[in-house]
Amino acid sequence: MRRDLVIIGGGPAGLAAAVAAYGAGARDILVLERDVELGGILNQCVHNGFGLHAFKEELTGPEYAARYVEMARERGIECRCGTTVLDVSSERTVTCLSPERGLETVEAGAVVLAMGCRERPRGALNIPGYRPAGVFSAGTAQRLVNREGLMPGRRVVVLGSGDIGLIMARRMALEGAEVLCVAELMPYSGGLKRNIVQCLDDFGIPLLLSHTATRVLGRERVEGVEIAQVDGHGAPIPGTERVYECDTLLLSCGLLPENELSRQAGVGLSSVTGGPVVDERLMTDVPGVFACGNVLHVHDLVDHVSEEAAHAGRAAAAYVAGGEGETGRRVAIEAGSHVRYTVPSSVDPARLDGPLTVRFRVTEPLRDVALVVSADGRELVRRKRRVVAPGEMEQAVLGPAVLADVTGPVTVSVEGGDRG
């Protein structure tokens, strides 16, 4: 089978890419989703707060997903659920598996990678102790509670203050569990400020900054978690250990872009984001293979995922139509001071037909700073910001005119400011 555009993943990124590709003229589109329904992780995010940017209203996760599912349906875009992609080759041959259709291969004109991310498991965190039942990644617990209606436990400690951990602290409290604390290794939270307020402060759940789990107690089921304060290098300080008696430990210690398929396709990955290295079209270094959403880099807000994915979808449609050739120009976009990474990491200024959004994260919380984009020894953009934090993605929008005659690398940096 041959299809113009194959999109791997029917979550918010994949659906937004499909809808935008359709808008850009692509018609022969196939979305492959491994779950039994479309919507991805949004289906278990029953809390509200989605869509404030994209739809100017406050939606729950399933409601936000439903908007895009409906848009795809209206356009007659073919979406196959219950279908797991097993392999993608560098020639864009997609091998997939489903109970109904068995093993299939699809030759794709272009591929959009939209597989999302996964949670960092306990093993990777290396917490000593027993390995009992009751240690869940926050997202697994969220699925059990919100989709399956099952309680993972009654007395809960949360390790890591990522957004899912914060949301799940509140969810468990709302379900009648006792949430003893949220412990965070860093001196600041990795989650959105609004989630700290709405999920912890409003429920009287203490946030222990610069703390980590040093031991899991309980041989068969969790019976307690030992929490200790850490020093400036993240090492536990002897004598500060305290055991919290609980039956459940939820982990929210980071999300990892899920790039097993990208690797099979030979896509080059960034060691900082864990996602593909892309140009301004969000095309990877494998021609015709694009990436967007959390598989590219982990986002805080689905609204930004949709926006980014729409960009990838349009670019993939253009690639299939054969409109854009290589112009041979490529300007690197680099992370400067206090910036961890940028997406994209290169741009061809000759190919830009609209403003370029560069997304990035800062390395540490800072106050009263300027976001500065510069190239060839001059400033292209300077914007003042009162507060920036690693937990909140930043972006800089560069008009095509600004980049038109840039030759050297474009650097995104954060200047001035106090540690916040």
């Binding site: 306990r122 093993g123 399956e148 099952l150 309680m151 089921r221």
Partner: protein, 498 residues
């Protein structure tokens, strides 16, 4: 739990313990005209030392010449490839190197070489550092000499145990789980064994109870006879992701020095890398916890062998307890007439298990005057491993069984059909860990984060369980505490026993 009336059952041979040793003995016994029953205190096979194991098939140069350990190691290593082929168990002959980091160590390697030659190990040789690095490129530039043992191998210790148990069951052995042996006493015609579920009358008893074996041995041996002393010796490991690089494909040991025994770095049959174990004697036979100090020790020692070992790619760490006998020798003998023991089976216990099975089954058969059966069927075929099948076979399998088209574990590519099939086998999994050890669902880099809810659903359907009755490993290892919206004290929420 409502107390059940104790039931009295009978068999010819009662095997206590369903680890790799108990299962190997049980399978060998089913070659004879004997009714074999295996009682296991835990809820599945492979729950003790057999599960937290390096999976190494040792060549046989470690044990002192003339010991039972030396003889059974070499015999077991020779039997292993054929046994694994017969039972459809992953085995790979990858060879091993014992590394030494200075010229003084060479004498130690010579001693191991001489020991190996006396034990009957084939093809051993001492090689220089460069040759060691030619054999295994990840070996540290600091390595001066190494002992090369090309006959060493690796095996999947979980599947070996499961396959031995399944094949024993296919040949008529019966298993009962969650049944702990309380006591054994001589009775007319053999032994009366009382357990947590009742009692057994058996012509002969085989004690393969691992850490618990000394208790049964000492209770049956005469008062004047020497006691057996078994200490739980803890070994902690790191497991690295399949994508970790650079990692060795040859098993790398370190030459023991006065500073310690060293740790191994070895591939597993499934492409992961195992690093460990420590050796720390503990008192509590349940103390399978890892400690920060032990894990740090593992890491520090391992990078001596492989300096670029990617310890960032750790996907889990775990600890197991081996049954260390004070004299570091296998204790395989009758402690009283008809009461046979396979005790103190620590490394190279997994390697030796096939030979221990033969040795013990022969002794028991002689004692009971048992005869060989004509209808023993030694071949066993495992659950189809979807991920490893060629494309056409995958396609036809899904056409025939659509549930093989539903991927449940994405890290290890395990399908729903495999879990269903495992549940319908002679010795089915009962827990998440039981599924993990048989099929690898939950053993990959996300460590069950993705597949747990799906595996639970299959177990619920196949075993007729409520969600709160699905366990991870052990009777108190509930995963969910009933439905939401019911409250902690609502009896509806309490589906299972706590």
């Amino acid at each position: 739990m409502v107390p059940r009336a104790p039931i009295e059952r009978e068999c010819d041979v009662l095997v206590i313990g369903a680890g790799v040793v108990g299962c190997a003995i049980a399978r060998e016994l089913t070659r004879r005209d004997l009714a074999v029953h295996v009682v296991e205190a835990e809820e599945d096979v492979c729950c003790g030392a057999s599960k937290a194991n390096s999976g190494i098939v040792h060549a046989g140069f470690d044990a002192r010449p003339g010991t039972l350990m030396a003889r059974l190691n070499v015999q077991g290593a020779a039997l292993m490839p054929g046994l694994c082929a017969e039972l459809d168990v992953p085995y790979r002959n990858n060879g091993s190197l014992v590394l030494c980091f200075d010229d003084e160590g060479r004498a130690g390697l010579e001693r191991l070489l001489a020991q190996g030659l006396r034990n009957g190990v084939r093809d051993l040789s001492i090689v220089g550092g460069d040759e060691a690095r030619a054999i295994e490129p990840t070996v540290s530039p600091e390595v001066r000499w190494a002992l090369w043992a090309p006959t060493a191998g690796i095996v999947d210790p979980f599947l070996l145990t499961v396959a031995l148990a399944e094949n024993a069951a296919e040949n008529g052995a019966e298993f009962s789980f969650n049944e702990r042996v309380a006591a054994a006493e001589p009775a007319r015609g053999g032994w009366l064994v009382t357990t947590s579920a009742g009692s057994w009358r058996a012509g002969a008893v085989v004690n393969a109870a691992g850490l618990d074996s000394a208790r049964l041995f000492n209770a049956t041996v005469g008062d004047a006879a020497p006691r057996l002393s078994i200490t739980p010796r803890r070994g902690s490991y790191y497991l690295l992701d399949k994508t970790a690089a650079p990692v060795p494909s040859v098993t790398l040991f370190q030459l023991p020095t006065d500073k310690g025994k060293g740790v191994l770095v070895a591939p597993t049959c499934h492409g992961n890398t195992l690093v460990g174990p420590t050796a720390v004697d503990v008192e509590d036979p349940l103390a399978t916890e890892t400690t920060a100090a032990e894990l740090a020790d593992v890491a520090e020692k391992a990078v001596r062998s492989v300096p670029d070992l990617p310890l960032r790619s750790v996907i889990t760490s775990f600890a197991g307890l081996r049954a260390h006998e004070a004299g570091h020798e296998f204790v395989i003998r009758e402690s009283a007439p008809g009461f046979f023991n396979a005790a103190g089976i620590e490394s190279p216990g997994l390697t030796s298990a096939p030979a221990i099975g033969v040795m013990v089954a022969d002794a028991v058969s002689r004692a009971l005057c048992a005869t060989q059966r004509g209808d023993f069927q030694g071949e066993r075929l495992g659950v189809p491993r979807f991920a490893d099948l060629p494309g056409e076979e995958q396609a036809s399998l899904v056409a025939e069984r659509p549930s093989y088209g539903h991927v449940v574990c994405r890290c290890e590519l395990v399908t729903q059909g495999e879990i269903e099939d495992a549940c319908r086998r002679p010795v089915p999994p009962r827990t998440l860990d039981g599924v993990k050890r048989r099929l690898r669902a939950g053993m990959g880099r996300c460590q069950g984060g993705f597949c747990t809810p799906f595996v639970m659903q299959v177990l619920e359907r196949e075993l007729g369980l409520a969600p709160s009755e699905v366990h991870k490993s052990g009777a108190r290892s509930w995963i969910v505490d009933g439905p939401t919206k019911t409250g902690a004290d609502d009896p509806v929420a309490k589906g299972g026993e706590r």
